[in-house]
Symmetry: C2
């Protein structure tokens, strides 16, 4: 089975919005074994959409029209597809009831255009829209399957995940269960390379790696007819992967971040953290500061960008910095210890290094010492990080979070 995706929207053609729906759906389809060889984008124009559908029919089994289900006069995907197939539009009673209920709750009247959003080509299977008013649809005619999906990404993604994919999988009487594993470590492409044989060998469950924000996410998806069996297969696959990548694994979950995992572990253990930042200039603290509830475990800390600020704010002897340099194990340790003492926190993390683009004290850009002071003692690690000034700073923050997470995990053993 192969699918052709047609994105409808003049604002996509004009580049006012980027077609992220197409990427998302293509990726999800490929994971359940549906190939897609062609995609098209057309404006809000019935003739051109009709032509695009005709083109797609000549080369693809399934034609998925994305967008153009809204209430405005230029939203004509449903009407165009129905006319193309010689079908009438009929109102889906369940969806209409939902629209009426919603209007009642929000105290506004339904317009005729709103009512049209409950329509679908006769004979089509409705796809529930959990995040919006336009119902989706799937139908078969001849050798082709046709699908209508809404354009707004929040509505689109939800309908793909909860309606379309299970329906496609269900046509083969299958369940679909996904699990997201998260990794951070030196070299994202290296992490993926390390398990490329596992990825290549897997057919069920599948492993889809994504590299984003200097991290690797693996989405494991299992298919079958028995939830317990699929879960067991996912567990086995996760064990197999973590036998290789366990050192870099930090959490399972689609919505977690490294910072949220660290903050929640601090909260769970009732431990507090502070920081002193040189090259990262506040980015570590701003990152944990982004997690709701962080105030239970974080009072504040220091940005000590210059050597003078390190001496003045953290009480580091100028002689120590003069002797070992700003970019040194000694300075990183002194920063962490000084911060922990001054903020009276359980843990303190320190960052000192060369963000670039220029070198510093003879060290090339990307040379970073991260210090950690905690109940179990003090440590400092040296990193040689690649990338631009900003990449070096972001990677430094993540390594600091990872060191803190490992220390917290160690403390529980």
């Amino acid at each position: 089975m192969n699918a052709e995706l047609i994105a409808v929207g003049t604002e996509i053609l004009l580049g006012e919005i980027t077609n992220t729906n197409g990427s998302y759906l293509a990726r999800e389809l490929s994971r359940i074994g549906v190939d897609s060889y062609f995609q098209q984008v057309v404006g809000d124009n019935p003739q051109r959409l009709d032509a695009a559908i005709t083109t797609a029919e000549q080369r693809s089994d399934m034609i998925i029209v994305m967008g153009g289900l809204g209430p405005t006069p230029d939203d004509l995907s449903k009407q165009t597809l129905a006319a193309h197939l010689g079908l009438k539009l009929v109102t889906d009673a369940a969806h209409l009831a939902k629209l009426h209920e919603l209007a009642k709750r929000r105290e506004h009247a339904l317009t005729p255009n709103n009512l049209a959003q409950a329509q679908l080509p006769e004979g089509a299977t409705p796809l529930t829209n959990h995040n919006g008013l336009a119902v989706g649809a799937m139908l078969k005619q001849g050798a082709h399957t046709y699908v209508l999906l809404p354009g707004p990404p929040r509505e689109f993604v939800k309908m793909v995940d909860t309606e379309l994919l299970p329906l496609l999988a269900g046509q083969e009487h299958q369940l679909l269960i996904s699990r997201t594993l998260r990794y951070f470590g030196l070299g994202e492409s290296g992490l993926v390379d390390a398990i490329k044989d596992i990825i290549a060998q897997q057919t069920n469950p599948t492993v889809a790696p994504y590299i984003k924000d200097y991290e690797v996410t693996l989405r494991l998806t299992g298919r079958g007819d028995n939830e317990a069996v699929i879960t067991k297969q996912l567990d086995a696959l996760q064990d197999k992967i973590n036998a290789v990548l366990g050192k870099y694994y930090y959490a399972t979950g689609a919505d977690v971040t490294l910072a949220s995992v660290v903050v929640h572990e601090l909260v769970r253990q009732g431990q507090s953290v502070s920081a002193a930042e040189s090259l990262t200039a506040g980015l570590f603290q701003a990152t944990i500061g982004g997690v709701p509830g962080v105030s239970d475990v974080f009072n504040g800390g220091f940005v000590t960008y210059s050597a003078g600020a390190k001496a003045k704010l953290l009480g580091i002897a100028p002689e120590l910095i003069a002797k070992h340099g700003v970019v040194s194990e000694e300075t990183a340790l002194a920063m962490a210890k000084g911060t922990r003492q001054r903020m009276q926190s359980d843990y303190a993390v320190s960052f000192t290094g060369v963000a670039g683009p220029d070198e510093l004290e003879g060290h090339p850009a990307g040379t970073v010492w991260i210090g950690l002071s905690g109940p179990a003692g003090d440590q400092a690690q040296l990193f040689h990080l690649g990338g631009s000034r900003n990449e070096v700073r972001i990677r430094s923050v993540k390594h600091g979070l990872m060191m803190l997470l490992r220390a917290l995990q160690q403390a529980q053993k």
Copy 2:
């Protein structure tokens, strides 16, 4: 004239990368009067690309193939287009010389695949690649114009801006001059609304608004045959826009940021800055810390997340906080003054407020006081910011930068 964009790449079809090139080019083409009614995406497959080109020829004047010019065996766009048109591939001498020179400088040998990157269909006009090894091409055959562009966005955007668009404009003996104006203020869509009549009335120069990162960017593009005339038209249009939006204008330039403008103004005036951050938790300092050269004007500062940290690190009397609250003009001013004194900086910025999601001291999420202490005195401003926790923090940082920029500009008057 209308153009059809064909993005080539299995990784786009599979959703591993999003087709941002298509959005970018569609937008730029629309601004020079080239419509695009259809876009296609195909994998790295010569037969399917050939079919896509045939489809495009039936409905479009210009066919622009994006991607597939790289050195790997699956990069076949150039070969496919040449075969489709019955043309031989020939080596572009100037580009080949550039490849040899580059290889010499980087001390590596050129592979046969690299050499192929200097080839283009015979008779084609080469498009210089300023950021990569693959030459682009444009050629005419019959009623159609064909364009080959590289896939990596850094190479693609540069080639579109400096080669393709001027060439297309030049075919009509026209010059094309663009200017990017940058604005930040309360409510991005409000800023665009305030000049929507100007945008709608303009045909030359055109005004294209983009909203990104809570800022508004206006790209003005003038066409004509005389540089001085176009520049004068752009100046007049800029004056007209800034008569409405001047309060929110902060710089002209495609590559500047609010933080870089502030840091460069500090450097120019020989003034230093420090900060004390509560809800932003280090994000202001991390943001200016991202600008190379910031060490000349920034020694460091404080993250004072809790009331205790404000008292301890900045010497604020606990009674003042108890009386007025953490989220108050008095606390913001005391934070800024205390920081300026402790860091001995010329300016100090302070942030205290409610990032959310929960309210604080009876203030709703988004209530933010920003303080500024400087040579001309002390001030504090109250903001009511919308959005998520993270949006409130980013907007706060930008408002703090804007307050500092205005103070620096005022000091020069």
